[in-house]
């Protein structure tokens, strides 16, 4: 009972933030507006809501474009991981020994690949004229999935695995009731949703890292077309305020705020779905 | 040698909301079998643990004395009564060297009471290491202990999960007796066993205690067992304050 009462605030936070980000992604302009020198370095008060960059372009458009870059890939990656984790959990309830060891071996082998290395190899092979985060997000999800499946399987095992299923079956429940409701919705949900949310966050952070590293080297990013700006651009421009003493602190603040927002969303989704 | 092994007097233990034990006394004499019986929630285990110096309820001990007359006149509860968690932890440390060599504990449901990650032989060796005088050969001791409880020598290399329930109970008994204690406290050793195993475990326990000249404090629920084997019987009153068992 107590657990339930505490759950909805987290769900509300997560939902609001996701809606906001979704709106931002859906309305993202394809190109940044033309520079307006008058607004160069404008703070949030001069050009609400977030201010402008060194050439007077509103940071709101940066934020929206950045959301567009990450929204779909993060969602796809998260759902992919959740889907596979549910599969892993169900397999442990149904298949018994060999399925479990198969998942374990897969998570062992895949888990031993340094993720960043694989991602960079994928990045190398992404066609240059059609750059997108999606292939890397899917690769990341596939790398994360065996671990998530393993965790889901151990949850199912702690549940009693086949014994739990047998007891409910003897009680008279149908297979869909046992697996759909008891196993997946009640018991796998916490770990599966948390894993999905974590992977979403990781994909966003991955995009920011890759874009940032490209921007620093003055190279086009692998993760989005040139016309788009990533949240990493906010970080990069803001970073100069520290090192070069340029008045762009508000840019850095926005970048960091967006990163925190993503972390908060991921944590709240996990908390909203957590076990009792 | 005829001094009692344990004398507990006026023991009262308090939990945050209720009194668990009120004014309980207990005497165990050498080479005798003392049965500790009482209704559900009377605090049988709690009393037995307190008599080993283990108090893990808070605020815990509010009255009572604990003496081991065979060792000396000291009252181990002195300074602990009303002292709360910290004093109880001090007592736990102070009596630690006594647990094993002087008073030893044989658990119920032995399969889950043994360390699942260590072989029986290793656990026996650790227990033998708590003796006052180290034996000449630990290996020989392990073998003779196993033989004494009717386990084959190869059981020394087995993990607890590889033993059946009855064998695990035997192994646990061997571990309890290994430090050559003067007193063995057995907490419901019959629990979960079928009648045949139940009797054989009890008989083995009595036999082993006789061989090692140890006193036995047996917590039991089976009146038929107590009637047949106990020399002395300590009956705990029903739980104080009308507490209903769940």
């Amino acid at each position: 009972m107590k657990g339930r009462l505490l759950r909805w605030p987290y769900a509300a936070v997560a939902l609001l933030a996701i809606l906001a980000l979704g709106w931002a992604a859906a309305t993202a302009p394809v190109h940044l507006p033309a520079p307006e020198v008058d607004f160069a370095y404008a703070g949030p008060l001069e050009l609400p809501p977030f201010g402008a960059d060194h050439r007077g372009r509103p940071l709101l458009d940066y934020a929206r474009q950045g959301a567009w870059v990450v929204a779909l890939p993060a969602m796809v990656a998260g759902l992919l991981v959740m889907f596979m984790a549910v599969g892993g959990g169900l397999l442990a309830c149904l298949g018994g020994g060999w399925a479990r060891s198969a998942v374990q071996i897969a998570s062992e082998v895949v888990g031993s690949l340094p993720r960043m290395v694989v991602i960079l190899v994928v990045a190398l092979l992404v066609p240059r004229d059609d750059r997108s985060l999606l292939p890397m997000a899917i690769a990341w999800a596939l790398l994360a999935a065996p671990g998530a499946m393993d965790e889901a399987a151990s949850v199912a095992e702690r549940l009693g695995g086949t014994r739990f299923v047998e007891a409910l079956r003897a009680h008279g429940f149908s297979a869909s009731r046992i697996f759909g409701w008891h196993v997946v919705a009640l018991n796998l949900r916490p770990v599966v949703v948390r894993q999905g949310a974590e992977v979403m966050m990781q994909v966003v952070f991955l995009e920011i890292a890759l874009s940032y590293l490209s921007v620093v080297e003055d190279q086009p990013s692998f993760t989005h077309p040139d016309s788009m700006m990533s949240w990493a651009d906010l970080l990069y421009q803001g970073y100069r305020s520290i090192v070069l003493d340029v008045p762009t602190t508000h840019v850095l603040a926005l970048g960091l705020a967006l990163i925190s927002l993503v972390a908060v969303v991921s944590l709240s989704i996990g908390a909203a779905a957590r076990a009792r | 040698m005829s001094e009692p092994l344990v004398v507990v007097e006026g023991l009262s233990i308090q939990a945050p909301t209720r009194l668990l034990i009120r004014d309980v006394g207990l005497i165990v004499r050498p080479r005798r079998i003392t049965a500790l019986v009482g209704p559900s929630g009377a605090g049988k285990s709690l009393t037995a643990r307190a008599s080993m110096g283990v108090l893990d309820v808070i605020p815990g001990l509010v009255a009572g004395s604990l003496r081991y007359p065979a060792l000396g006149p000291q009252d181990w509860f002195q300074g602990v009564v009303g002292g709360g968690e910290r004093a109880q932890r001090r007592l736990l440390e102070a009596t630690r060297s006594l647990r094993g060599a002087y008073v030893s504990y044989s658990p119920q449901a032995a399969s889950s009471a043994l360390n699942p990650g260590r072989t029986i032989g290793w656990q026996l060796a650790i227990a033998i290491g708590r003796r006052v005088e180290a034996p000449a050969s630990v290996g020989a001791e392990v073998r003779s202990l196993l033989a004494e409880v009717g386990l084959p020598a190869r059981a020394a290399a087995a993990l607890p999960a590889e033993l059946s329930g009855g064998m695990a109970q035997r192994a646990a008994l061997a571990i309890a007796i290994a430090p050559k204690p003067r007193l063995v406290i057995a907490d419901e050793p019959e629990t979960g066993l079928d009648p045949v195993l139940r009797r054989s475990v009890i008989e083995l326990m009595i036999q082993v205690c006789q061989v090692h000249q140890a006193g036995l404090l047996l917590i039991s629920h089976h009146q038929s067992t107590v009637d047949r084997i106990a020399d002395d019987v300590v009956v705990l009153p029903a739980p104080p304050a009308g507490e209903v068992a769940a």
């Binding site: 079956r169 003897a170 076990a275 | 929630g41 590889e162 079928d194 195993l197 008989e203 009637d227």
Partner: protein, 341 residues
């Protein structure tokens, strides 16, 4: 003493006809070879409406296997199970599912059968809603009522991990009883419990059974079954060796007497004979007269000469027509009276 009325002249709820089950089992030690076990070797049993029958035996005696076969959790290797006159063994799971509501199971491992994410109330409520088809509000109300009847009125919202072993057991019992089943099979419903709590859990189960429900109680302690059942069947090596109503007489088979009170007779060493009477190696009753019979022929359940009605025992020495009156009267030292409800 149990006071439930029974309808022995009506059609039985459970009918087991020459039930057999063989399977392979790993040995006690990892290095011992796998062996074929004849877990159930010819069990016949009829249980009338309202009747409570206890299956008693040591582990490995086949009592749990019988109970699982009755519920269709395992298929018999030979023989048949009929529930309320209908064939039950050999059906496909889909055919059984609709009927399972009436034939219920109290598993041995309560923690493993409960959903860790559901409170006590939600367990029963779901059962009533999904399996009995009650509307939500009514299901909730009835669930709370059922839990209160089993003494869990103050623990409605507790999760399994917050409950004691006895409370968990009561939830599994409440979940079963909420469906007003016509048959309840309880597999060691008191195992793993604090000895003091066993009696109250058994009482919760038996006292709240629907009036015409049959019940099979599997346990390894006959003295525990005493007072809670109409009939006790003692099993060894997959066979029933004695059938007795403890309210009118005591067991006579030497092994059954050990199960009833282990201090009443010499302890068996647990050696079982492959041929003839399985208990022969440990049996104190083997005389020169019957030795050959015991060694060659498996005894069948026979009424005792001059024994009370309904008591049957599988022992050549006790049932041979030439034998003197059964050598065993109840043990002289009176066992402590078992608490009665």
């Amino acid at each position: 003493m149990i006071t439930r009325p029974t309808w022995t002249d009506e059609a039985p709820v459970v009918e087991l006809i020459d039930l057999h089950k063989r399977f392979h089992r790993a040995g006690a030690w990892p290095w011992s070879p796998r062996q074929e076990v004849h877990a159930v070797a010819g069990v016949d049993l009829r249980i009338a409406p309202g009747e409570v029958v206890a299956l008693v035996g040591q582990s490995g005696s086949g009592k749990t296997t019988v109970s699982r076969i009755v519920l269709g959790l395992e298929e018999p290797s030979a023989g048949e199970v009929r529930l309320e006159g209908q064939r039950w063994s050999g059906l496909a799971e889909a055919q059984r599912r609709a009927q399972r509501v009436h034939y219920q199971y109290v598993p041995q491992d309560a923690m493993g059968a409960l959903d860790p994410q559901q409170s006590a109330l939600e367990h029963i409520e779901e059962t009533l809603k999904v399996l009995a088809g009650l509307p939500r509000a009514e299901a909730r109300e009835k669930a709370a009522e059922m839990l209160s009847r089993l003494g869990l009125g103050s623990r409605l919202h507790a999760l399994p991990r917050e409950m004691s072993g006895g409370e968990q057991r009561r939830v599994t019992i409440a979940r079963v009883l909420a469906l007003s089943p016509r048959l309840v099979v309880a597999d060691e419903p008191t195992s793993g419990l604090d000895p003091d709590r066993r009696e109250s859990v058994l009482e919760a189960l038996i006292a709240n059974l629907p009036p015409r429900a049959a019940c099979i109680l599997v346990t390894h302690d006959m003295s525990e079954a005493r007072g809670w059942c109409h009939r006790v069947l003692a099993m060894i090596a997959g066979r029933v060796i004695e059938e007795v109503d403890l309210s009118v007489s005591e067991p006579t088979h030497p092994y059954a007497r050990v199960l009833f009170d282990p201090w009443s007779a010499p302890l068996p060493r647990g050696l079982l004979a492959d041929q003839g009477c399985p208990y022969r190696p440990d049996c104190p009753l083997v005389t020169a007269e019957v030795a050959h019979l015991c060694a060659t022929t498996v005894p069948s359940l026979q009424p005792l000469p001059r024994g009370p009605d309904g008591q049957r025992v599988a022992c050549h020495a006790l049932t041979a027509s030439s034998s003197s009156p059964p050598p065993s009267s109840p043990p002289s030292s009176s066992p402590s009276p078992a608490p009665t409800p």
